[in-house]
Symmetry: C3
Subunit: 208 residues, 3 copies
Protein backbone atom coordinates (compact mmCIF):
# COMPACT_ATOMS: atom_id res chain seq x y z
CA UNK A 1 0.00 0.00 0.00
CA UNK A 2 2.41 2.58 -1.31
CA UNK A 3 0.34 5.76 -0.87
CA UNK A 4 -0.31 4.98 2.79
CA UNK A 5 3.36 4.21 3.39
CA UNK A 6 4.43 7.48 1.75
CA UNK A 7 1.97 9.43 3.88
CA UNK A 8 3.29 7.53 6.91
CA UNK A 9 6.90 8.59 6.25
CA UNK A 10 5.85 12.22 5.72
CA UNK A 11 3.76 12.08 8.90
CA UNK A 12 6.46 10.66 11.17
CA UNK A 13 8.83 13.34 9.84
CA UNK A 14 6.34 16.09 10.63
CA UNK A 15 5.49 14.63 14.05
CA UNK A 16 9.18 14.38 14.90
CA UNK A 17 9.62 18.04 13.95
CA UNK A 18 6.73 19.17 16.12
CA UNK A 19 8.02 17.07 19.02
CA UNK A 20 11.50 18.55 18.54
CA UNK A 21 10.07 22.08 18.64
CA UNK A 22 8.34 21.33 21.91
CA UNK A 23 11.59 19.94 23.32
CA UNK A 24 13.47 23.10 22.30
CA UNK A 25 10.83 25.26 23.93
CA UNK A 26 11.42 23.36 27.17
CA UNK A 27 15.19 23.91 27.02
CA UNK A 28 16.07 20.28 26.27
CA UNK A 29 19.48 19.45 24.88
CA UNK A 30 20.08 17.86 21.48
CA UNK A 31 19.59 14.32 22.81
CA UNK A 32 16.33 15.27 24.47
CA UNK A 33 15.10 16.93 21.29
CA UNK A 34 15.88 13.87 19.16
CA UNK A 35 14.28 11.59 21.72
CA UNK A 36 11.15 13.71 22.11
CA UNK A 37 10.76 13.93 18.33
CA UNK A 38 11.15 10.17 18.00
CA UNK A 39 8.71 9.39 20.81
CA UNK A 40 6.14 11.78 19.32
CA UNK A 41 6.46 10.17 15.89
CA UNK A 42 6.79 6.50 16.81
CA UNK A 43 5.25 6.29 20.30
CA UNK A 44 1.74 5.58 19.04
CA UNK A 45 2.73 2.56 16.98
CA UNK A 46 4.99 1.35 19.78
CA UNK A 47 2.21 1.51 22.38
CA UNK A 48 -0.13 -0.32 19.99
CA UNK A 49 2.40 -3.07 19.28
CA UNK A 50 3.17 -3.64 22.96
CA UNK A 51 -0.52 -3.70 23.96
CA UNK A 52 -1.38 -6.11 21.17
CA UNK A 53 1.76 -8.20 21.65
CA UNK A 54 2.60 -7.47 18.00
CA UNK A 55 6.34 -8.13 17.85
CA UNK A 56 8.73 -6.97 16.56
CA UNK A 57 7.69 -3.38 17.28
CA UNK A 58 7.54 -1.27 14.10
CA UNK A 59 10.79 0.72 14.36
CA UNK A 60 12.72 -2.33 15.57
CA UNK A 61 11.71 -4.18 12.41
CA UNK A 62 12.35 -1.03 10.35
CA UNK A 63 15.18 0.91 12.01
CA UNK A 64 15.25 3.30 9.06
CA UNK A 65 12.22 5.02 10.62
CA UNK A 66 14.61 6.22 13.31
CA UNK A 67 16.74 7.94 10.66
CA UNK A 68 13.68 9.89 9.58
CA UNK A 69 12.73 11.00 13.08
CA UNK A 70 16.24 11.73 14.34
CA UNK A 71 17.15 13.48 11.09
CA UNK A 72 13.98 15.56 11.27
CA UNK A 73 14.72 16.53 14.87
CA UNK A 74 18.27 17.62 14.05
CA UNK A 75 17.14 19.68 11.04
CA UNK A 76 14.49 21.23 13.26
CA UNK A 77 17.09 22.18 15.86
CA UNK A 78 18.91 24.11 13.12
CA UNK A 79 15.99 25.89 11.48
CA UNK A 80 13.43 26.12 14.31
CA UNK A 81 13.56 29.89 14.51
CA UNK A 82 11.91 30.08 11.09
CA UNK A 83 9.49 27.20 11.32
CA UNK A 84 6.51 29.06 12.76
CA UNK A 85 5.96 30.40 9.24
CA UNK A 86 5.11 26.81 8.38
CA UNK A 87 2.54 26.44 11.14
CA UNK A 88 -0.44 26.02 8.81
CA UNK A 89 1.31 23.35 6.77
CA UNK A 90 2.27 21.50 9.95
CA UNK A 91 -1.28 21.44 11.20
CA UNK A 92 -2.41 19.95 7.90
CA UNK A 93 0.36 17.33 7.82
CA UNK A 94 -0.36 16.54 11.46
CA UNK A 95 -4.04 15.97 10.59
CA UNK A 96 -3.09 13.78 7.66
CA UNK A 97 -0.70 11.87 9.94
CA UNK A 98 -3.41 11.35 12.53
CA UNK A 99 -5.73 9.65 10.04
CA UNK A 100 -2.89 7.71 8.36
CA UNK A 101 -1.64 6.44 11.75
CA UNK A 102 -5.19 5.42 12.60
CA UNK A 103 -5.75 3.48 9.37
CA UNK A 104 -2.35 1.78 9.72
CA UNK A 105 -3.11 0.90 13.35
CA UNK A 106 -6.45 -0.61 12.37
CA UNK A 107 -4.59 -2.67 9.79
CA UNK A 108 -2.35 -4.14 12.51
CA UNK A 109 -5.42 -4.96 14.61
CA UNK A 110 -7.01 -6.70 11.61
CA UNK A 111 -3.82 -8.65 10.96
CA UNK A 112 -3.94 -9.86 14.59
CA UNK A 113 -7.59 -10.91 14.03
CA UNK A 114 -8.71 -8.83 16.99
CA UNK A 115 -12.32 -8.02 17.86
CA UNK A 116 -13.63 -5.08 15.73
CA UNK A 117 -13.73 -2.77 18.76
CA UNK A 118 -10.09 -3.59 19.46
CA UNK A 119 -9.24 -3.00 15.79
CA UNK A 120 -10.69 0.51 16.04
CA UNK A 121 -8.94 1.09 19.35
CA UNK A 122 -5.63 -0.09 17.88
CA UNK A 123 -6.10 2.66 15.30
CA UNK A 124 -6.96 5.31 17.89
CA UNK A 125 -3.98 4.36 20.08
CA UNK A 126 -1.65 4.54 17.05
CA UNK A 127 -3.08 7.97 16.24
CA UNK A 128 -2.89 9.61 19.65
CA UNK A 129 -0.32 7.91 21.91
CA UNK A 130 2.71 9.60 20.37
CA UNK A 131 1.43 13.02 21.45
CA UNK A 132 0.31 11.60 24.79
CA UNK A 133 3.78 10.22 25.59
CA UNK A 134 5.36 13.49 24.39
CA UNK A 135 3.21 15.41 26.87
CA UNK A 136 4.06 13.03 29.73
CA UNK A 137 7.78 13.50 29.00
CA UNK A 138 7.18 17.27 28.99
CA UNK A 139 5.46 16.98 32.37
CA UNK A 140 2.03 18.17 31.33
CA UNK A 141 -1.47 16.71 31.21
CA UNK A 142 -1.86 15.23 27.71
CA UNK A 143 -3.50 17.76 25.38
CA UNK A 144 -5.44 14.98 23.68
CA UNK A 145 -7.42 14.44 26.89
CA UNK A 146 -8.34 18.08 27.18
CA UNK A 147 -9.45 19.81 24.06
CA UNK A 148 -10.26 19.76 20.39
CA UNK A 149 -11.57 16.95 18.28
CA UNK A 150 -8.38 14.97 17.95
CA UNK A 151 -9.00 11.55 19.47
CA UNK A 152 -12.54 11.83 18.12
CA UNK A 153 -11.19 12.20 14.59
CA UNK A 154 -9.14 9.04 15.10
CA UNK A 155 -12.19 7.23 16.47
CA UNK A 156 -14.35 8.37 13.54
CA UNK A 157 -11.65 7.35 11.04
CA UNK A 158 -11.24 3.93 12.64
CA UNK A 159 -14.98 3.21 12.82
CA UNK A 160 -15.46 4.42 9.24
CA UNK A 161 -12.58 2.29 7.94
CA UNK A 162 -13.56 -0.89 9.78
CA UNK A 163 -17.20 -0.34 8.86
CA UNK A 164 -16.37 -0.12 5.17
CA UNK A 165 -14.28 -3.27 5.32
CA UNK A 166 -17.17 -4.98 7.09
CA UNK A 167 -19.39 -3.84 4.19
CA UNK A 168 -16.83 -5.54 1.93
CA UNK A 169 -15.71 -2.34 0.27
CA UNK A 170 -12.45 -2.88 -1.61
CA UNK A 171 -9.51 -2.39 0.77
CA UNK A 172 -7.73 0.36 -1.22
CA UNK A 173 -10.96 2.27 -1.67
CA UNK A 174 -11.78 1.96 2.03
CA UNK A 175 -8.32 3.31 2.87
CA UNK A 176 -8.72 6.28 0.54
CA UNK A 177 -12.21 7.10 1.78
CA UNK A 178 -11.17 6.79 5.44
CA UNK A 179 -8.12 9.02 4.89
CA UNK A 180 -10.20 11.58 2.98
CA UNK A 181 -13.18 11.76 5.30
CA UNK A 182 -11.07 11.65 8.48
CA UNK A 183 -8.85 14.44 7.18
CA UNK A 184 -11.86 16.51 6.16
CA UNK A 185 -13.35 16.02 9.63
CA UNK A 186 -10.10 17.16 11.26
CA UNK A 187 -9.85 20.25 9.04
CA UNK A 188 -13.46 21.17 9.74
CA UNK A 189 -12.95 20.64 13.48
CA UNK A 190 -9.93 22.96 13.44
CA UNK A 191 -11.61 25.54 11.22
CA UNK A 192 -14.75 25.82 13.31
CA UNK A 193 -13.19 25.07 16.71
CA UNK A 194 -15.38 22.03 17.31
CA UNK A 195 -14.78 20.35 20.64
CA UNK A 196 -16.23 17.72 22.93
CA UNK A 197 -18.16 18.76 26.04
CA UNK A 198 -16.07 19.32 29.12
CA UNK A 199 -17.12 20.19 32.63
CA UNK A 200 -16.68 22.94 35.18
CA UNK A 201 -14.35 20.59 36.92
CA UNK A 202 -13.44 22.59 39.97
CA UNK A 203 -16.96 22.52 41.36
CA UNK A 204 -17.00 18.74 41.42
CA UNK A 205 -15.96 17.13 44.67
CA UNK A 206 -13.58 14.19 44.45
CA UNK A 207 -14.14 10.71 45.78
CA UNK A 208 -10.72 9.98 47.18
CA UNK B 1 -14.72 -18.32 39.95
CA UNK B 2 -17.96 -16.41 39.66
CA UNK B 3 -17.87 -14.40 42.89
CA UNK B 4 -14.41 -13.03 42.09
CA UNK B 5 -15.46 -12.17 38.53
CA UNK B 6 -18.57 -10.35 39.77
CA UNK B 7 -16.50 -8.36 42.24
CA UNK B 8 -14.07 -7.62 39.41
CA UNK B 9 -16.79 -6.15 37.19
CA UNK B 10 -18.15 -4.03 40.05
CA UNK B 11 -14.64 -2.91 40.89
CA UNK B 12 -13.65 -1.83 37.36
CA UNK B 13 -16.93 0.10 37.15
CA UNK B 14 -16.22 1.90 40.41
CA UNK B 15 -12.59 2.56 39.48
CA UNK B 16 -13.67 3.95 36.11
CA UNK B 17 -16.10 6.29 37.89
CA UNK B 18 -13.46 7.56 40.29
CA UNK B 19 -11.02 8.08 37.40
CA UNK B 20 -13.72 9.93 35.46
CA UNK B 21 -14.38 12.22 38.43
CA UNK B 22 -10.69 13.07 38.61
CA UNK B 23 -10.67 13.82 34.88
CA UNK B 24 -13.65 16.15 35.24
CA UNK B 25 -11.98 17.98 38.10
CA UNK B 26 -9.03 18.61 35.81
CA UNK B 27 -11.23 20.04 33.06
CA UNK B 28 -10.77 17.13 30.65
CA UNK B 29 -13.19 16.68 27.79
CA UNK B 30 -15.44 13.66 27.35
CA UNK B 31 -12.75 11.64 25.58
CA UNK B 32 -10.23 12.38 28.33
CA UNK B 33 -12.74 11.39 30.98
CA UNK B 34 -13.50 8.06 29.30
CA UNK B 35 -9.82 7.40 28.78
CA UNK B 36 -8.83 8.29 32.34
CA UNK B 37 -11.62 6.11 33.72
CA UNK B 38 -10.54 3.20 31.55
CA UNK B 39 -6.85 3.55 32.43
CA UNK B 40 -7.69 3.72 36.14
CA UNK B 41 -9.82 0.58 35.91
CA UNK B 42 -7.80 -1.54 33.51
CA UNK B 43 -4.27 -0.11 33.77
CA UNK B 44 -3.20 -2.41 36.58
CA UNK B 45 -4.04 -5.61 34.75
CA UNK B 46 -2.53 -4.20 31.56
CA UNK B 47 0.78 -3.36 33.26
CA UNK B 48 0.85 -6.84 34.82
CA UNK B 49 0.16 -8.59 31.52
CA UNK B 50 2.84 -6.61 29.65
CA UNK B 51 5.46 -7.15 32.37
CA UNK B 52 4.71 -10.89 32.55
CA UNK B 53 4.38 -11.24 28.77
CA UNK B 54 0.87 -12.61 29.40
CA UNK B 55 -0.85 -12.09 26.04
CA UNK B 56 -3.48 -11.28 25.03
CA UNK B 57 -3.87 -8.45 27.55
CA UNK B 58 -7.10 -8.77 29.59
CA UNK B 59 -9.33 -6.16 27.90
CA UNK B 60 -8.11 -7.18 24.43
CA UNK B 61 -9.28 -10.74 25.09
CA UNK B 62 -12.46 -9.39 26.74
CA UNK B 63 -13.39 -6.12 25.00
CA UNK B 64 -16.67 -6.05 26.93
CA UNK B 65 -14.65 -4.72 29.89
CA UNK B 66 -14.27 -1.52 27.86
CA UNK B 67 -18.06 -1.16 27.69
CA UNK B 68 -18.16 -1.21 31.47
CA UNK B 69 -15.44 1.39 31.93
CA UNK B 70 -16.53 3.72 29.12
CA UNK B 71 -20.18 3.39 30.11
CA UNK B 72 -19.31 4.12 33.74
CA UNK B 73 -17.31 7.19 32.72
CA UNK B 74 -20.14 8.58 30.58
CA UNK B 75 -22.71 8.02 33.31
CA UNK B 76 -20.34 9.72 35.74
CA UNK B 77 -20.02 12.72 33.44
CA UNK B 78 -23.80 13.11 33.64
CA UNK B 79 -24.34 12.62 37.37
CA UNK B 80 -21.01 13.71 38.87
CA UNK B 81 -22.44 16.70 40.68
CA UNK B 82 -24.31 14.33 42.97
CA UNK B 83 -21.76 11.61 43.41
CA UNK B 84 -19.94 12.97 46.46
CA UNK B 85 -22.91 11.72 48.49
CA UNK B 86 -21.70 8.26 47.55
CA UNK B 87 -18.16 8.85 48.76
CA UNK B 88 -18.27 6.29 51.58
CA UNK B 89 -19.62 3.59 49.28
CA UNK B 90 -16.92 4.36 46.73
CA UNK B 91 -14.17 4.02 49.29
CA UNK B 92 -15.53 0.61 50.27
CA UNK B 93 -15.91 -0.59 46.67
CA UNK B 94 -12.42 0.74 45.92
CA UNK B 95 -11.04 -1.27 48.85
CA UNK B 96 -12.85 -4.38 47.68
CA UNK B 97 -11.54 -3.76 44.17
CA UNK B 98 -7.98 -3.43 45.45
CA UNK B 99 -8.05 -6.85 47.09
CA UNK B 100 -9.96 -8.47 44.20
CA UNK B 101 -7.47 -7.06 41.66
CA UNK B 102 -4.64 -8.37 43.82
CA UNK B 103 -6.05 -11.91 44.09
CA UNK B 104 -6.78 -11.98 40.33
CA UNK B 105 -3.26 -10.72 39.57
CA UNK B 106 -1.73 -13.42 41.78
CA UNK B 107 -3.81 -15.93 39.83
CA UNK B 108 -2.24 -14.78 36.56
CA UNK B 109 1.22 -15.07 38.11
CA UNK B 110 0.43 -18.61 39.28
CA UNK B 111 -0.86 -19.52 35.83
CA UNK B 112 2.48 -18.33 34.38
CA UNK B 113 4.28 -20.52 36.96
CA UNK B 114 6.27 -17.54 38.20
CA UNK B 115 8.40 -17.47 41.34
CA UNK B 116 6.23 -16.91 44.47
CA UNK B 117 7.66 -13.41 44.98
CA UNK B 118 6.71 -12.55 41.39
CA UNK B 119 3.23 -14.01 41.94
CA UNK B 120 2.72 -11.65 44.88
CA UNK B 121 4.16 -8.75 42.89
CA UNK B 122 1.85 -9.52 39.96
CA UNK B 123 -1.00 -9.11 42.43
CA UNK B 124 0.34 -5.84 43.85
CA UNK B 125 0.92 -4.39 40.36
CA UNK B 126 -2.63 -5.35 39.33
CA UNK B 127 -3.93 -3.66 42.47
CA UNK B 128 -2.07 -0.37 42.30
CA UNK B 129 -0.94 0.44 38.75
CA UNK B 130 -4.31 1.71 37.56
CA UNK B 131 -4.22 4.52 40.06
CA UNK B 132 -0.54 5.11 39.41
CA UNK B 133 -1.09 5.55 35.65
CA UNK B 134 -4.12 7.77 36.36
CA UNK B 135 -1.93 10.05 38.48
CA UNK B 136 0.80 10.19 35.81
CA UNK B 137 -1.80 11.21 33.21
CA UNK B 138 -3.04 13.87 35.67
CA UNK B 139 0.53 15.13 36.06
CA UNK B 140 0.95 14.42 39.74
CA UNK B 141 3.20 12.22 41.87
CA UNK B 142 1.30 8.91 42.33
CA UNK B 143 -0.68 8.96 45.58
CA UNK B 144 0.11 5.30 46.15
CA UNK B 145 3.78 6.22 46.68
CA UNK B 146 2.97 8.85 49.24
CA UNK B 147 0.41 8.01 51.85
CA UNK B 148 -1.97 5.54 53.45
CA UNK B 149 -1.77 1.78 53.57
CA UNK B 150 -2.84 1.04 50.02
CA UNK B 151 0.03 -0.82 48.37
CA UNK B 152 0.65 -2.45 51.74
CA UNK B 153 -2.88 -3.86 51.73
CA UNK B 154 -2.22 -5.33 48.29
CA UNK B 155 1.08 -6.79 49.50
CA UNK B 156 -0.56 -8.29 52.59
CA UNK B 157 -3.40 -9.74 50.50
CA UNK B 158 -1.00 -11.27 47.98
CA UNK B 159 1.30 -12.80 50.62
CA UNK B 160 -1.69 -14.14 52.56
CA UNK B 161 -3.27 -15.66 49.42
CA UNK B 162 -0.06 -17.25 48.11
CA UNK B 163 0.81 -18.44 51.62
CA UNK B 164 -2.51 -20.21 51.99
CA UNK B 165 -2.17 -21.89 48.60
CA UNK B 166 1.32 -23.00 49.63
CA UNK B 167 -0.25 -24.49 52.78
CA UNK B 168 -2.58 -26.37 50.39
CA UNK B 169 -5.70 -24.58 51.54
CA UNK B 170 -8.55 -25.13 49.07
CA UNK B 171 -8.40 -22.51 46.32
CA UNK B 172 -11.92 -21.08 46.79
CA UNK B 173 -11.45 -20.86 50.54
CA UNK B 174 -8.06 -19.14 50.10
CA UNK B 175 -9.69 -16.62 47.76
CA UNK B 176 -12.48 -15.86 50.22
CA UNK B 177 -10.13 -15.54 53.19
CA UNK B 178 -7.72 -13.32 51.24
CA UNK B 179 -10.56 -11.08 50.05
CA UNK B 180 -12.02 -10.89 53.55
CA UNK B 181 -8.83 -10.26 55.49
CA UNK B 182 -7.40 -7.85 52.89
CA UNK B 183 -10.65 -5.87 52.85
CA UNK B 184 -10.77 -5.77 56.64
CA UNK B 185 -7.17 -4.55 56.72
CA UNK B 186 -8.00 -1.78 54.25
CA UNK B 187 -11.07 -0.68 56.20
CA UNK B 188 -9.12 -0.63 59.47
CA UNK B 189 -6.29 1.31 57.82
CA UNK B 190 -8.76 3.94 56.55
CA UNK B 191 -10.68 4.09 59.82
CA UNK B 192 -7.63 4.59 62.00
CA UNK B 193 -5.49 6.48 59.47
CA UNK B 194 -2.69 3.93 59.54
CA UNK B 195 0.25 4.82 57.32
CA UNK B 196 3.80 3.77 56.56
CA UNK B 197 6.68 5.82 57.88
CA UNK B 198 7.79 8.67 55.68
CA UNK B 199 10.67 11.05 56.09
CA UNK B 200 11.37 14.74 56.56
CA UNK B 201 12.44 14.74 52.97
CA UNK B 202 13.53 18.29 52.48
CA UNK B 203 16.39 18.03 54.98
CA UNK B 204 17.96 15.20 53.04
CA UNK B 205 20.57 16.19 50.51
CA UNK B 206 20.43 14.56 47.09
CA UNK B 207 23.13 12.58 45.41
CA UNK B 208 22.75 13.88 41.88
CA UNK C 1 30.67 -12.91 32.30
CA UNK C 2 31.34 -12.61 36.03
CA UNK C 3 32.96 -9.16 36.16
CA UNK C 4 30.07 -7.57 34.27
CA UNK C 5 27.52 -9.34 36.48
CA UNK C 6 29.29 -8.15 39.64
CA UNK C 7 29.34 -4.59 38.34
CA UNK C 8 25.66 -4.99 37.48
CA UNK C 9 24.71 -5.98 41.03
CA UNK C 10 26.72 -3.10 42.50
CA UNK C 11 25.15 -0.72 39.99
CA UNK C 12 21.53 -1.69 40.65
CA UNK C 13 22.21 -1.33 44.38
CA UNK C 14 23.62 2.15 43.90
CA UNK C 15 20.83 3.17 41.51
CA UNK C 16 18.22 1.92 43.98
CA UNK C 17 19.86 4.01 46.70
CA UNK C 18 19.85 7.16 44.60
CA UNK C 19 16.22 6.56 43.62
CA UNK C 20 15.32 6.02 47.27
CA UNK C 21 16.99 9.29 48.24
CA UNK C 22 14.95 11.13 45.62
CA UNK C 23 11.77 9.50 46.95
CA UNK C 24 12.61 10.59 50.51
CA UNK C 25 13.24 14.14 49.35
CA UNK C 26 9.72 14.15 47.87
CA UNK C 27 8.15 12.95 51.10
CA UNK C 28 7.24 9.48 49.83
CA UNK C 29 6.43 6.74 52.30
CA UNK C 30 8.45 3.54 52.68
CA UNK C 31 6.57 1.76 49.90
CA UNK C 32 7.10 4.68 47.52
CA UNK C 33 10.81 4.77 48.38
CA UNK C 34 11.24 1.04 47.70
CA UNK C 35 9.28 1.32 44.48
CA UNK C 36 11.16 4.38 43.23
CA UNK C 37 14.49 2.74 44.03
CA UNK C 38 13.47 -0.42 42.20
CA UNK C 39 12.17 1.45 39.14
CA UNK C 40 15.37 3.50 38.97
CA UNK C 41 17.52 0.38 39.14
CA UNK C 42 15.54 -2.04 37.00
CA UNK C 43 13.39 0.23 34.80
CA UNK C 44 15.95 0.48 32.02
CA UNK C 45 16.26 -3.26 31.52
CA UNK C 46 12.49 -3.64 31.82
CA UNK C 47 11.80 -1.04 29.12
CA UNK C 48 14.37 -2.71 26.86
CA UNK C 49 12.90 -6.19 27.36
CA UNK C 50 9.33 -5.01 26.68
CA UNK C 51 10.35 -3.04 23.56
CA UNK C 52 12.36 -5.97 22.20
CA UNK C 53 9.78 -8.56 23.26
CA UNK C 54 12.56 -10.26 25.25
CA UNK C 55 10.62 -12.34 27.78
CA UNK C 56 10.82 -13.10 30.62
CA UNK C 57 11.80 -9.59 31.75
CA UNK C 58 15.09 -9.59 33.70
CA UNK C 59 13.84 -9.26 37.29
CA UNK C 60 11.00 -11.72 36.65
CA UNK C 61 13.54 -14.36 35.61
CA UNK C 62 15.84 -13.30 38.48
CA UNK C 63 13.64 -12.13 41.37
CA UNK C 64 16.72 -11.90 43.59
CA UNK C 65 17.44 -8.56 41.88
CA UNK C 66 14.41 -7.23 43.74
CA UNK C 67 16.02 -8.19 47.06
CA UNK C 68 18.99 -6.03 46.14
CA UNK C 69 16.95 -2.99 45.16
CA UNK C 70 14.37 -3.22 47.98
CA UNK C 71 17.09 -3.97 50.54
CA UNK C 72 19.14 -1.02 49.28
CA UNK C 73 16.11 1.29 49.49
CA UNK C 74 15.33 0.24 53.07
CA UNK C 75 18.94 0.68 54.18
CA UNK C 76 18.92 4.08 52.49
CA UNK C 77 15.78 5.08 54.39
CA UNK C 78 17.68 4.37 57.62
CA UNK C 79 21.00 6.04 56.85
CA UNK C 80 20.05 8.71 54.30
CA UNK C 81 20.94 11.61 56.58
CA UNK C 82 24.59 10.64 56.30
CA UNK C 83 24.75 9.59 52.69
CA UNK C 84 25.64 12.95 51.13
CA UNK C 85 29.17 12.33 52.39
CA UNK C 86 29.25 9.53 49.84
CA UNK C 87 28.16 11.74 46.94
CA UNK C 88 31.42 11.43 45.00
CA UNK C 89 31.43 7.64 45.29
CA UNK C 90 27.82 7.52 44.13
CA UNK C 91 28.56 9.57 41.06
CA UNK C 92 31.37 7.19 40.16
CA UNK C 93 29.28 4.05 40.76
CA UNK C 94 26.42 5.65 38.80
CA UNK C 95 28.80 6.25 35.88
CA UNK C 96 30.06 2.69 36.06
CA UNK C 97 26.46 1.47 36.19
CA UNK C 98 25.54 3.54 33.14
CA UNK C 99 28.22 1.89 31.00
CA UNK C 100 27.61 -1.58 32.45
CA UNK C 101 23.85 -1.29 31.81
CA UNK C 102 24.64 -0.18 28.26
CA UNK C 103 26.97 -3.08 27.51
CA UNK C 104 24.49 -5.57 29.02
CA UNK C 105 21.64 -4.04 27.01
CA UNK C 106 23.68 -4.32 23.80
CA UNK C 107 24.23 -7.98 24.69
CA UNK C 108 20.47 -8.57 24.83
CA UNK C 109 20.06 -6.86 21.46
CA UNK C 110 22.78 -9.08 19.98
CA UNK C 111 21.15 -12.17 21.45
CA UNK C 112 17.89 -11.15 19.71
CA UNK C 113 19.85 -10.74 16.46
CA UNK C 114 18.60 -7.19 16.05
CA UNK C 115 19.92 -4.66 13.52
CA UNK C 116 23.18 -3.03 14.79
CA UNK C 117 21.43 0.33 15.30
CA UNK C 118 18.82 -1.41 17.45
CA UNK C 119 21.56 -3.21 19.39
CA UNK C 120 23.11 0.15 20.27
CA UNK C 121 19.70 1.59 21.11
CA UNK C 122 18.91 -1.41 23.34
CA UNK C 123 22.05 -0.48 25.25
CA UNK C 124 21.16 3.21 25.48
CA UNK C 125 17.61 2.42 26.65
CA UNK C 126 18.97 0.05 29.32
CA UNK C 127 21.34 2.79 30.45
CA UNK C 128 18.96 5.71 30.68
CA UNK C 129 15.32 4.56 31.08
CA UNK C 130 15.57 3.81 34.80
CA UNK C 131 16.31 7.45 35.54
CA UNK C 132 13.75 8.58 33.00
CA UNK C 133 10.96 6.54 34.63
CA UNK C 134 12.11 7.74 38.07
CA UNK C 135 11.72 11.35 36.92
CA UNK C 136 8.26 10.69 35.44
CA UNK C 137 7.13 9.16 38.76
CA UNK C 138 8.55 12.25 40.53
CA UNK C 139 6.55 14.47 38.16
CA UNK C 140 9.47 16.23 36.52
CA UNK C 141 10.88 16.48 33.00
CA UNK C 142 13.51 13.70 32.73
CA UNK C 143 16.96 15.07 33.54
CA UNK C 144 18.50 12.88 30.85
CA UNK C 145 16.70 14.96 28.20
CA UNK C 146 18.00 18.21 29.57
CA UNK C 147 21.61 18.35 30.55
CA UNK C 148 25.01 16.73 30.81
CA UNK C 149 26.54 14.03 28.70
CA UNK C 150 24.66 11.08 30.07
CA UNK C 151 22.72 9.56 27.20
CA UNK C 152 25.66 10.51 24.99
CA UNK C 153 27.98 8.39 27.14
CA UNK C 154 25.61 5.45 26.71
CA UNK C 155 25.48 6.05 22.96
CA UNK C 156 29.29 6.24 22.73
CA UNK C 157 29.68 3.09 24.84
CA UNK C 158 27.17 1.17 22.73
CA UNK C 159 28.67 2.24 19.39
CA UNK C 160 32.18 1.50 20.65
CA UNK C 161 31.18 -1.96 21.94
CA UNK C 162 29.24 -2.98 18.84
CA UNK C 163 31.97 -1.57 16.61
CA UNK C 164 34.62 -3.67 18.33
CA UNK C 165 32.55 -6.81 18.04
CA UNK C 166 32.05 -6.02 14.35
CA UNK C 167 35.85 -5.76 14.06
CA UNK C 168 35.92 -9.26 15.62
CA UNK C 169 37.65 -8.16 18.79
CA UNK C 170 37.40 -10.86 21.46
CA UNK C 171 34.14 -10.43 23.39
CA UNK C 172 35.67 -10.12 26.88
CA UNK C 173 38.22 -7.61 25.64
CA UNK C 174 35.52 -5.59 23.88
CA UNK C 175 33.50 -5.54 27.12
CA UNK C 176 36.46 -4.34 29.16
CA UNK C 177 37.45 -1.67 26.64
CA UNK C 178 33.85 -0.44 26.32
CA UNK C 179 33.44 -0.27 30.10
CA UNK C 180 36.77 1.49 30.51
CA UNK C 181 36.41 4.05 27.73
CA UNK C 182 32.74 4.75 28.48
CA UNK C 183 33.52 5.28 32.16
CA UNK C 184 36.46 7.53 31.32
CA UNK C 185 34.22 9.57 29.00
CA UNK C 186 31.62 9.95 31.76
CA UNK C 187 34.20 11.02 34.33
CA UNK C 188 35.71 13.56 31.92
CA UNK C 189 32.24 14.89 31.06
CA UNK C 190 31.44 15.39 34.75
CA UNK C 191 34.85 16.87 35.56
CA UNK C 192 34.79 19.43 32.79
CA UNK C 193 31.02 19.98 32.66
CA UNK C 194 30.73 18.92 29.02
CA UNK C 195 27.22 19.14 27.65
CA UNK C 196 25.27 18.95 24.42
CA UNK C 197 24.01 22.13 22.79
CA UNK C 198 20.60 23.29 23.92
CA UNK C 199 18.51 26.18 22.70
CA UNK C 200 17.02 29.41 24.01
CA UNK C 201 13.74 27.59 23.99
CA UNK C 202 11.37 30.31 25.07
CA UNK C 203 11.96 32.42 21.97
CA UNK C 204 10.85 29.62 19.70
CA UNK C 205 7.22 29.66 18.72
CA UNK C 206 5.33 26.37 18.86
CA UNK C 207 3.49 24.68 16.05
CA UNK C 208 0.47 23.43 17.93
Amino acid sequence: MTLLHTIYLIAITAEAMSGAIMGMRRGMDLFGICMLGTVTALGGGTARDILLGHYPVGWIANPEYLSFTIGAAIVTAMIARHMHHLRQIFLLVDGLGLVAFTVIGCGVGLEMEAHPSIVVLAGVITGIFGGLLRDILCNQVPLVMQRELYATVALFTGVFYVGMLWLEVNSSLATLLALGSGFLFRVLAMTFGWKLPDFQGKEIRGLD
